[in-house]
Symmetry: C2
Subunit: 138 residues, 2 copies
């Protein structure tokens, strides 16, 4: 049992042996976002019921405006930006914490001149996000 514990070493906002992935494959409604799954990726750390991921949004970039049934627990660790939570928008900076409730429309956006990096924890088993399209009926 013991040997499964581990330290995942940080080098800046990259982690040793953790690949940098495309933010998502299912849509292209975002700009300049990368994803790294620190713990709970695939078959790793199977005892975890959740995944710990790190997202980084380059200056001027944003995540997909979307909603889903599972909640998010977010901790900002780098840079500046804002989060949209339904009809509200709030500035965020280290080490603000964001709770995205089930089915809330949400989007993370980096500042124009600064990256935004945050940890996002989600259930391992979860529903798929649905992009929100403003031009479509809601």
């Amino acid at each position: 049992m013991a040997d499964r514990s581990k330290v995942v070493r940080a080098k800046g906002f990259r982690w040793v042996d953790v690949p940098i992935r495309v933010y998502k494959e299912s849509d292209d409604l975002y700009k300049d976002v990368t994803r790294q799954t620190l713990l709970g990726n695939g078959d790793a750390e199977r005892s975890l019921n959740f995944e710990m991921r790190y997202f980084e949004i380059a200056p001027g970039g944003y995540s997909t405006l979307e909603r889903h049934g599972h909640p998010h627990a977010v901790l900002v660790v780098r840079g500046r930006g804002e989060v949209q939570l339904d009809d509200r928008t709030a500035p965020i900076a280290p080490f603000d914490c964001v709770y995205v409730a089930p089915d809330a429309e949400h989007q993370f956006r980096a500042a124009a001149d600064e990256s935004l990096g945050f940890i996002c924890v989600v259930d391992r088993e979860r529903d798929r996000p649905r992009p929100v399209t403003r031009s479509a009926p809601r």
Copy 2:
């Protein structure tokens, strides 16, 4: 639904409206540790199946050496220290990530001259920790 989303604002390594609590009531085998539950505390954020907590250990302090059936996902965000994982000890610093496997003996220790602050995510429903006493048979 929308109004349940929220931003918990950071002021240094304290958070607005988040109380600073005693690390644990069940033993006194630790030194200079505080606990803040950022998300998922009690009835808050009931949709979360996990809690996001922040622990801070003052210089020279340490958490209880213990084990339990539930795993930990940890992200260091402040200072320096080390973690014991069964028979291994590793230095930790921002933004190293630590996976504590089920039933692994573990202890977090701050450096002599620096605090150690880290996020620790756990299942909301979980078993109680059991302190490890070195003088007792193992």
